[in-house]
């Protein structure tokens, strides 16, 4: 069985229909969250930090936070929201009485998570651009990284969600996986200045590191060979996890 994109799009549109009704409720926190981080850490903490990674602290922080916004947008969608649709709303049971197949459900949900990530990350980008923290036009190169980051965290989250028996385990996912990533994946301080070469190699496993490095390179206008590896990591890990999730979604939806 392969994905039928028209059917996947119908799944995507179900979520879009629901989201449209409450978009302003969702957009507003999106808008304020980056402002709070930038003011508190960028301006507050930044006042005591003259330089970080060779630039003013707030400028160092801004591209990383764009990726964090994309990560959060995708993650909420493929964890709590998918679980609710699967278990409480039984939305997938209804879809599977129609020509929609499990693969289409997965593709539609991932596509929707990427959309949510793009809305989150895009809003964040607009805020920092308005604050003069995104050097235009070259920082625009960071915009396509937002859906890529969304894809990566949609793949990770959906693979996790399909294999857990209860909703309670999502708190582990957020506290023991996403929070450490947020704190230790190059967003707040440059890993390469704090870790030994051996540990730096280990740190390459951290998923958030890759979109952050790409976004920061775009903001700086400093391409480097390692960025190819970042793109390969994002696409490769996403593909592997989605292949695994495909088996999971069939197992959960059919018997």
């Amino acid at each position: 069985m392969t994905v039928s994109w028209p059917h996947a799009l119908a799944v995507w549109r179900r979520n879009a229909t629901m989201y449209r009704r409450t978009w302003w409720l969702n957009i507003l926190p999106n808008f304020f969250e980056p402002v709070f981080y930038l003011v508190s850490i960028g301006i507050g903490v930044g006042a005591y930090v003259s330089q970080m990674g060779g630039m003013p602290y707030i400028a160092f922080l801004a591209p990383g936070l764009v990726c964090v916004a994309a990560m959060n947008g995708a993650s909420f969608e493929v964890t709590y929201n998918i679980y609710v649709r699967l278990t409480f709303e039984k939305a997938y049971d209804a879809m599977l009485t129609t020509p929609v197949e499990p693969d289409d459900v997965l593709a539609g949900e991932v596509l929707w998570a990427v959309t949510r990530a793009s809305i989150y990350g895009g809003t964040f980008f607009l805020v920092i651009a308005a604050a003069g923290l995104a050097p235009l036009p070259r920082a625009l190169l960071a915009v396509p990284i937002v859906p890529l980051a969304g894809l990566l965290f949609a793949a990770i989250g959906v693979a996790f969600s399909l294999r857990i028996p209860t909703l309670d385990l999502f708190s582990f996912y957020f506290t023991l996986f996403l929070t450490p990533l947020f704190l230790f994946a190059d967003v707040f301080f440059p890993l390469e200045e704090r870790l030994s070469p051996g540990w730096l190699r280990v740190a390459e496993a951290l998923p958030l590191l890759h979109p952050v490095r790409l976004a920061r390179a775009a903001f700086r206008g400093a391409p480097a060979p390692i960025l190819v590896w970042d793109v390969v990591y994002i696409l490769g890990v996403s593909a592997l996890l989605l292949a695994w999730a495909r088996r999971g979604v069939r197992r959960r939806l059919t018997s």
Binding site: H7, A10, T17, K90, A94, L96, T97, T98, E101, S255
Partner: protein, 304 residues
């Protein structure tokens, strides 16, 4: 045949949900699957629309192998699940629009079809209010409306009227008959005997994952019992003597009560009146499917 199951079994681990089931549903009829909860009805339906794969045997719908062509099969069938799956926050019209897109309906056909099903199931008056504010009967009708979006050739209804009040049940039955009149084949499960007897041209009684009888309701009653039933309270000794003298076609015992079946019960009634007097709460009534189920399986259909 619209639906054909041949020697189908379904095991979940060590549990046998369906056990060598044979079923054939001809075009244009209303076919009822009867059985107590846990008899394998829902599993059988899920195999028919291709969400559950049979462990052994073959399931063909419209002549297609469901296991390999589930997408093509589901494009031509409508399924109303036992539990309504509606989106509470949005209106019936929006629910129908979301569902129609699963069938790849596009404007203007989508809106036209929404109008048709709104009229057909009389949902127009509340078409634009959030679903969460609707009554149980309205929600059920909307659930049926969703499954009609693709103008199905086969409509599958899993316990369509469970938990509904009598007026809503009557309304839904009339809709099922109207669909049948237009040529739609209907396959439903129920544990309501009146529903099966009124709606179904043919019923299959399922118990323990097997079909134990399969015919029209009248034929089942004729084959296994007789046209009329006489119920009376009596002891086992009295039953033995009644059966010996009156030779009914069949008899059933339910607690302290005996049901005797005969095509002409006048003689039975006269004899019981003579031997029992006015005691025993004598009732004469037509034999029904509940009696057939009791006779065939030894258990009550309502699962009491």
């Amino acid at each position: 045949m619209i639906v054909e199951l041949a020697n189908v079994a379904k095991h979940f681990g060590t549990r046998v949900a369906v056990d060598h089931l044979d079923l054939a549903v001809p075009a244009g009829i209303c076919f009822g699957l009867l059985g107590p909860n846990g008899a394998g009805k829902t599993t059988t339906l899920r195999m028919i629309y291709g969400v559950t794969r049979p462990t052994t045997g073959s399931v063909r719908v419209f002549g297609l192998d469901v296991t390999h062509e589930s997408r093509a099969v589901r494009a031509r069938i409508g399924v109303t699940l036992q539990e309504n799956v509606l989106i509470d926050a949005i209106s019936p019209v929006e629910n129908l629009r979301v569902f129609g897109r699963y069938h790849l309906l596009r404007e203007p056909a989508l809106s036209r079809r929404i109008d048709e099903v709104l009229d057909f199931l009389e949902l127009r008056s509340h078409a634009s209010v959030p679903v969460k504010s609707l009554s149980g009967g309205f929600r059920r009708r909307l659930a049926v409306a969703l499954s009609l979006m693709n103008e199905p050739e086969l409509l599958v209804l899993d316990e369509p009227t469970t938990g509904l009040d009598p007026a809503v049940r009557l309304a839904l039955w009339s809709r099922v008959r109207a669909l049948q009149a237009r040529g739609t084949t209907v396959l439903l499960t129920t544990h309501y005997m009146d529903e099966a007897q009124r709606l179904c041209d043919r019923v299959a009684i399922i118990a323990g994952g097997r079909v134990v009888a399969d015919a029209s309701p009248d034929a089942l009653i004729r084959q296994h019992l007789a046209a009329e039933a006489v119920e009376v309270d009596c002891t086992r000794d009295e039953e033995t003597s009644l059966v010996r003298t009156l030779r009914p076609r069949a008899q059933l015992r339910v607690g302290g009560r005996v049901i005797l079946f005969a095509d002409d019960v006048a003689a039975l009634v006269a004899e019981i009146r003579r031997s029992h007097g006015d005691h025993g709460r004598l009732v004469v009534r037509p034999a029904n499917l509940e009696d057939v189920f009791l006779a065939l399986t030894g258990t009550s259909l309502e699962g009491s």
